[in-house]
């Protein structure tokens, strides 16, 4: 450039002189587009000497974001020898960038030879609003760009990202420093498989086929992770080599989609795997979806399941089954109707299907579909196995309960025979007296009446004892009945009266008035009470007789539960044994089998109740049985 400066010295002298005359920043360039002079104002403005500015040096003072465009305008106009105006930011000596408005114009010698360009620039940073529209626009744009939550970036065809907002940097994991150093590049951000997609999009944009291209791809973040993004790219208006891109993070949408897909396939597999009949019906009872199991029980003609097909009315099918004599089918059709009409939150029934060679049990469950148009989902599962197991367990418990009952009653046999011998002895005595009186010539009939009356009462007493014992000794079918627990306890205490006297135990009854009824098997519940009371007797064997007191207490523990407490005055149960006492084979007696409390627990569990042991604050153990009531209406003792 210095050569050209010398060859065209006179003209350039003139241009330089002009530059020094104008009151603004000014520069001069030669035919080779190189700058040859910067005036004094320029030098003062930037704080650099002419030597420092010449060559490429001055370019550094132009704001990096503006440099490219700045050059393009210059170069683009130069070849056409056109005037141009441009706005750009230039660094002042204090390091602050100032917005300059610049005008450039070609220079010709007197004989019309092109000599280069001259340019003047004015600092418009401090101009008022009317004059500062550019600056304001730039500021507005900057704010819009930087604070936008949408990731935005400017790119060039050669793959550079020349500017990006915070959101974009956050998305890609790069820093502003990376951006400044040119570390952020389109190809670096794009995994290999998407590069072609990018290229095609740019090609289309440049060919004017589309104003904007939108497509999904992935970004390769700086940390190596991939982010799914939705790309919306377009060229900057008036440019073919640069554009703007908006990249939306699709991660959460992808996740939701994946979850949706997962739950859909899960539902599908659940639906398919249900080992029963699954019927989905609409609000009028028509079957809209169906899953028929392969097991034989569901395919028999006699069952209501066989006739079910898409489009058929399922409620009607049950009604028909009911009419043909299936009692439970009526309950099911009512249940489904109830759920469809939203009168019932759900419906469940275990029923035995008639017409099958061996007893078969199903559980039918009706769930409403939670959608505005209504409908219901009905599942039917073959529960015969479970039912059989339940029955077996019930039978086993009954057997075991019976055996332990017999054992326990055996231990108490002496007491029971005493209970029985008492009225028998009295009867015999009375009968002998009657005989004697009758053998006299003039028997006293009033006295005879009285004695015979006693005999009758005593016979009844003996009969009652025998009946109770027979019931306890018998195997007895499990019979669920409404039971007044107080009455049951009084019977048990009566049976154990003699045992209590023998063991020198004072029995205190604290029975609540108007105790609600519980549902259960009388004999099994008597067994539990008997067992707890006998245990309490046993627990007090080693304490002095006057202290042996047993309290039998009943009360309502809440609206739904009746509680029985058997409290002794014995030494109590070691805290670590409070749970294990209910284990099978736990015993403190040398001759005991240790099944008593274990059976008690099984019995109470079968009654949907709970049994527990605690120690009373004043000493002694408390065994507590809690049973659900069947009716809230109280029943007097």
């Amino acid at each position: 450039m210095s050569t050209s400066l010398e060859s065209q010295l006179p003209v350039h002298e003139a241009m330089r002189a002009w530059a020094d005359l104008v009151p603004t920043l000014a520069w001069v360039s030669g035919c080779d587009k190189q700058c040859v002079y910067f005036n004094r104002q320029w030098q003062e403005f930037t704080g650099s000497s002419l030597e420092e500015l010449l060559g490429e040096q001055w370019v550094k003072d132009v704001h990096p974001e503006d440099r490219q465009r700045w050059l393009e305008i210059y170069l683009g106009s130069f070849d056409l020898r056109k005037q141009f105006t441009r706005e750009y930011r230039l660094r002042r000596h204090d390091g602050q960038y100032r917005l300059l408005a610049e005008a450039g114009a070609p220079c010709f010698s007197a004989d019309g030879v092109f000599m280069g360009y001259t340019g003047t620039a004015v600092d418009i940073s401090d101009l008022g609003i009317s004059d500062g529209s550019v600056r304001e626009r730039a500021a507005r744009f900057r704010a819009l760009f930087d604070r936008n939550v949408v990731p935005l970036a400017f790119w060039t065809v050669d793959g550079k990202i020349i500017d990006a907002n915070k959101a974009y940097l956050k998305l890609t994991g790069y820093t502003r420093q990376d951006l400044r150093k040119g570390g952020l590049r389109c190809d670096g951000l794009t995994p290999a498989e998407y590069q072609e997609l990018d290229r095609r999009a740019i090609t289309e944009l440049r060919a004017g086929k589309a104003a904007a291209r939108t497509y999904e791809k992935e970004y390769l973040r700086r940390d190596g992770r991939r982010v799914p993004v939705l790309i919306a790219g377009s060229l900057l208006p008036g440019y073919l080599d640069r554009g703007v891109v908006c990249a939306l993070d699709l991660t959460s949408r992808k996740k939701t989609e994946a979850r949706l897909e997962e739950s859909r396939s899960l539902l599908d597999s659940v639906f398919k795997s249900l080992n029963g009949l699954v019927v989905v019906i609409n609000s009028s009872g028509q079957v809209i979806a169906l899953k028929q199991p392969q097991t034989a029980v569901f395919r028999r003609k006699s069952t209501v399941h066989a006739g079910v097909r898409i489009g058929a009315n399922y409620v009607e099918a049950w009604k028909a089954a009911h009419l043909s004599g299936d009692r439970d089918a009526g309950l099911v059709s009512n249940g489904i109707a109830g759920v469809l009409e939203r009168k019932l939150p759900e419906f469940k029934l275990e029923y035995s299907c008639p017409g099958l060679p061996k007893p078969t049990w199903f559980e039918v469950a009706v769930q409403p579909l939670s959608r505005p148009e209504g409908g219901a989902l009905i599942t039917q599962v073959d529960i015969t196995r479970r039912r059989e197991t339940e029955l077996e367990a019930e039978l086993l418990l009954r057997e075991l309960a019976h055996v332990t009952r017999i054992t326990m009653l055996g231990e108490l046999a002496a007491s029971f025979t005493h209970e029985l011998s008492q009225p028998l002895a009295a009867m015999l005595n009375n009968s002998v007296v009657v005989q004697r009186l009758l053998s006299k010539r003039d028997p006293d009939t009033a006295r005879l009446q009285e004695i015979v009356g006693d005999i009758v009462a005593l016979s009844r007493r003996a009969k009652k004892i025998i009946e109770r014992l027979r019931k306890l000794l018998g195997k007895g079918k499990a019979q669920l009945k409404a039971i007044n627990f107080n009455k049951l306890l009084i019977e048990v205490v009566d049976l154990l009266r003699d045992e209590a006297i023998l063991k020198k135990v004072r029995v205190v009854r604290e029975l609540a008035h108007g105790l609600p009824l519980v549902c259960g098997d009388r004999i099994q519940l008597q067994q539990v009470s008997l067992n707890l009371i006998v245990n309490a007797f046993e627990a007090m064997r080693r304490i002095p007789a006057p202290l042996r007191e047993l309290t039998i207490r009943t009360f309502v523990s809440s609206h739904q539960f009746v509680t029985l407490e058997v409290q002794d005055a014995g030494p109590g149960i070691p805290p670590d044994k409070l749970e294990t006492v209910f284990n099978p084979f736990f015993t403190t007696k040398s001759e005991g089998m240790g099944m008593g409390l274990s059976i008690c627990r099984s019995i109470i569990k079968a009654h949907h109740g709970e049994i527990s042991a605690t120690n009373a604050p004043g000493g002694g153990a408390i065994f507590r049985v809690v049973l659900p009531v069947i009716d809230s209406t109280a029943d007097a003792i």
């Binding site: 005493h418 011998s421 015999l428 002998v432």
Partner: protein
Amino acid sequence: MRSEASTVFVVDDDPSLLRSVERLLQTAGYHAETFSTAESFLAAKVATRGACLILDVNLPGLNGLELQRKLAERGSPLPVIFIAGHGSIPMTVRAMKAGAVTFLPKPFEEPELIGQVEKALAQSREEARKWAELTSLRQRHATLTARESEVLLQVVSGKLNKQIAFALQIGETTVKVHRGRVMRKMQAQSVADLVIMAERLSLSPTQDPRK
């Protein structure tokens, strides 16, 4: 042999059984007195001489065996017939060792009960007789002077007059006089009689029962 006025006490906690036994005894011609607890029987402080007690083993509070022991501690000679709904062997053994007449399981037959009541009453009467005898013997013994008592002890231990005189440091004639008085006061026919009496009075040569 039956004494019409004999009293039979009955203790049982079962009122109907108590009533039936009472009737049975009345029909058999006894005077029956009934109690429902051992405590009420003890509190009544009845005259037990020549009577007997039908006692239920299993009583609330103080039980039959305990009542029997209490009576023995008081020195009562009242014979006891136990009745029980169920008598365990140890219980029976304890009762019999403590001197019970018998142990009848309920229900019992009338002849058996009456038979045992008779046995018990006879025992009671015999006891009464022995007791009366002993009482009179004690009264006779009480009339002896100190020296006569000493001579009595020497005599029943088989010593000769000479030995007694030496032991007591008195003259042999004096011993003879004391000896004659002892025989008369004790109403003894012979030395053998005197020995039996001393035994009944639980006298031993080394100790004087009055001390």
